[in-house]
């Protein structure tokens, strides 16, 4: 019981620290102020920070399955206090450093003195730590009270549905419908996210459009790889090769050198996607007969071969060699040139929506079931009448096509591409973000991309330690949360099936023992 409170408090605290370091207090505070019409940026910051705590306390209360008000509230306060303690210490530390005239921005670009002032309420560091912890504890109290009231007084189904969705609760008898269908709360969340996404580029400057665009390109890559690794269970390591094929297709077909073909960008998009998908099939045909580790090693080799070919002097006439291709063409529509970050953010968002739609639709179809069966037991899948090679190739081709799309947008946006854009690190990044975010989960992949590609961009000065941080993050994730940051319902149930069952049985008689 205590355990779940501590765990959720800890998670809430970590999420808040991420939010602070990501620059929620600086840029996002101003943005939220603009969007929501708040009186001061501090408002937006604290509403989002404490929202996280309310949410995690509600989760903790649900997981603890407690039946008394006192326990629920104590648990909520405890989890809030823990989050607050962690965040408070960070805030106190930052404030002390800032006061001691240490240039924090040297490492953390987003943390301006104003941003820190927002967090400390403008008081002394030690008082700020206490204040932050106290405020968090109150938020935790609120979260647990809200959740407990909801289950105790049987609030209207809709409210309950939203709350339960937030807590990822699920009743055992509705699993299939949940997995196959779209419950209203989730649809609503997606819609809200979409509106936010669609208006964001208008508020953001060049730098942020570029950074978030990069994150978005990795989201497309992640969603693609997720089909092969997460759904069909085939471990592929050289996925960056298909990204490279997309990028070089647009580069070679639209740039003045080395070929001077200079085709229209819009024609090149489908060509890049189809070429990447075809190369997926060509590679997949011999390779997909292998399983597990062997497949990973062979695809790893393929990724490196593509990069080395692009770099080699032998093909310098064709690919431009190590110097890459300059002046890659961009899109234009009705005479408007659209080759800046702003337009590309929208193209990338369209790409993400497309990839997410493909993933979601296939997941719940006959094709998705075939993939899942192959992931589960390839021999039995074959005995059940599934032509395994065909379905593995299909997964490979779709994933490669999405990588191609991402590559086309990448090269065209940067107006340049070269072999060093496609090092092994690209493939490893994509695989890591799928695992860290949560295999098989669309929001998970987005979150993974934000953490793995967004964070290093913000903590640019620490980029030397990037690999170290990745490694540590992966190890930590595998120990603490093997299902990923934002797992799909299915993954969660696979790994925590027993806990879910216990929770469900408590849900059937929620009001018992309340007096």
């Amino acid at each position: 019981m205590k355990h779940s409170n501590l765990r959720n408090g800890w998670v809430g605290g970590i999420v808040n620290i991420f939010l602070i370091l990501l620059g929620l207090t600086g840029l996002a505070g101003t943005l939220l102020q603009g969007w929501l019409g708040l009186p001061s940026p501090a408002f937006g910051v604290w509403v989002s920070l404490l929202g996280v705590v309310v949410w995690s306390a509600a989760r903790a209360t649900k997981a603890s399955g407690t039946q008394s008000w006192r326990e629920a509230l104590a648990g909520g306060a405890l989890s809030g206090l823990l989050s607050g303690g962690i965040v408070g210490l960070l805030v106190g530390l930052l404030a002390t450093l800032d006061a001691g005239s240490v240039e924090i921005r040297q490492w953390l670009v987003q943390l301006t003195p104003e941003a820190i002032a927002l967090l400390t309420f403008g008081v002394a560091p030690w008082l700020a730590t206490l204040l932050v912890a106290g405020v968090h504890a109150l938020a935790g109290l609120l979260g647990s009270a809200l959740y407990f009231a909801a289950i105790t007084y049987q609030w209207q189904a809709s409210v309950k549905g939203v709350l339960q969705d937030a807590g990822h609760s699920i009743s055992q008898t509705q699993v299939y419908q949940r997995i196959a269908g779209h419950p209203s709360a989730t649809t609503f969340a997606y819609a809200a996210g979409a509106i936010l996404l669609l208006t964001a580029p208008l508020y953001l400057g060049r730098y942020w459009n570029y950074t978030l665009g990069t994150v978005g390109l990795y989201v497309i890559l992640g969603l693609g790889l997720n089909i092969v690794v997460g759904m069909a269970g085939q471990l592929v390591l050289g996925y960056g090769a298909f990204f490279a094929i997309g990028a070089y297709t647009v580069a070679l077909l639209t740039a003045p050198t080395p070929h001077g073909i200079m085709m229209n960008f819009w024609l090149v998009v489908p060509i890049g996607v189809i070429l990447a998908a075809l190369s997926g099939v060509v590679l997949g045909l011999p390779v997909l007969r292998m399983r597990g580790d062997y497949l990973a090693i062979v695809t790893l080799g393929f990724g490196e071969i593509i990069r080395i070919l692009l770099k080699s002097d032998a093909l310098i006439e064709f690919t431009g060699g190590p110097r890459g291709v300059r002046a890659v063409g961009g899109p234009s529509l009705f005479g408007i040139k659209m080759n800046n970050e702003f337009y590309f953010t929208y193209f990338i968002i369209i790409g993400i929506i497309l990839a997410a739609y493909i993933t979601a639709q296939l997941q719940k179809s006959r094709v998705g079931r075939a993939w899942m069966a192959i992931r589960g037991d390839e021999d039995v899948a074959e005995a059940m009448g599934i032509m395994t090679l065909k379905y593995k190739l299909l997964a490979f081709a779709i994933a490669a096509g999405l990588a191609g799309l991402s590559g086309v947008l990448f090269a065209s946006r940067n107006k340049f591409t070269g072999p060093e854009d496609f090092t092994l690190l690209v493939s490893i990044n994509v695989l890591s973000l799928v695992i860290i975010g949560g295999m098989g989960s669309i929001p998970g992949v987005i979150m993974g991309a934000l953490i793995l590609k967004g964070l290093p961009e913000i903590l640019r000065e620490l980029s030397d330690y990037r690999m170290l941080a990745f490694g540590a993050l992966l190890v930590l994730m595998m120990i603490l949360r093997p299902e990923g940051m934002w797992p799909s319902t299915r993954q969660k149930m696979e790994l925590h099936g027993d806990e879910e069952k216990a929770e469900t049985s408590e849900h059937t008689e929620p009001a018992r023992g309340v007096a």
Binding site: V175, V367, R369, M372, A373, G385, I386, M387
Partner: protein, 260 residues
């Protein structure tokens, strides 16, 4: 009498070991046919030859007069052969109903485009498939457990689900590999009734590997005995019980059938 499965001197070799040695047998349509024999006699290997996982070195296998050797396992399933496994092999990370839906795979048609655009045809097909899956679940006595992950089902239910998944392939021939392994006598009796029901109600031919002699003698119409990959006897349960070679090679001292 027509034969749904005809095996003509089928031989499967692993290195120097003759796992299945020139086995000839003919399974009459709509019969319950058992293969028995000591451990390592080649029974499961024979199943793997029929379902296409092993390619026999010699011999022919005809199903409905169509050759099986050279076809892939999924193609053989498409012809109407389904199987269960000695050690249950369900898709553990899928729910019971999804396991059955996978069994229906080769009878459904939705491809990538159908799924992406949610064509009316695809939606109709999915609805029918789901309905049929629930019917099958009820048929094997698992109603209400459709949304439970296969790995969370109790042992007996997993056996039943595996049969339901095989039935979802709409087989003409069902291969059951030790369906009562690990079951108590009462459960074994249920299984015996269930196997008869499969044949009588669904007109499915049953090819059975089993060690439980009570079940084999109670349910089979025809029995083949394998030992060291070779067929050593063939006949009705009564004939097998009195066959001295079988008693020597497999059943031992004959006390097993003392009460007959």
């Amino acid at each position: 009498m027509t034969h749904i499965l005809q095996a003509q001197s089928v031989t499967k070799q692993f290195g120097g070991l003759l796992a299945v040695n020139a086995v000839t047998l003919n399974v009459p349509t709509e019969s319950i046919f058992s293969i028995i024999g000591p451990n390592g006699a080649g029974k499961t290997t024979f199943f793997n030859c029929v379902t296409g996982f092993y390619k026999p070195e010699r011999g022919t296998l005809l199903f409905d007069d169509k050759p099986l050797i050279g076809r892939r396992p999924d193609q053989i399933t498409g012809l109407g052969v389904a199987r269960t496994y000695q050690n249950i092999r369900l898709f553990n990370e899928m729910t019971a109903i999804e396991n059955i839906l996978v069994g229906q795979h080769h009878r459904l048609h939705a491809g990538v485009l159908g799924a992406l655009f949610q064509l009316p045809r695809t939606q109709r097909e999915e609805r029918q498939a789901l309905e049929e899956a629930y019917t099958l679940l009820e048929f094997v006595g698992l109603s209400g457990k459709g949304d439970v992950f296969a790995k969370n089902l109790p042992y007996g239910d997993q056996r039943r689900l595996e049969i339901a998944r095989a039935l979802a392939c709409k087989p003409k021939l069902l291969l059951l590999d030790e369906p009562t392994a690990g079951m108590n006598p009462a459960e074994t009796d249920d299984m015996m009734t269930f196997i008869r029901q499969l044949r009588d109600e669904l007109q499915i031919t049953i090819l059975l590997i089993e060690h439980d002699m009570r079940l084999v003698m109670g349910v089979s119409e025809h029995i083949v005995v394998l030992d060291y990959g070779m067929k050593i006897a063939e006949g009705t349960p009564a004939e097998i019980q009195s066959n001295t070679r079988v008693i020597e090679a497999y059943l031992g001292r004959g006390s097993v059938f003392a009460n007959d």
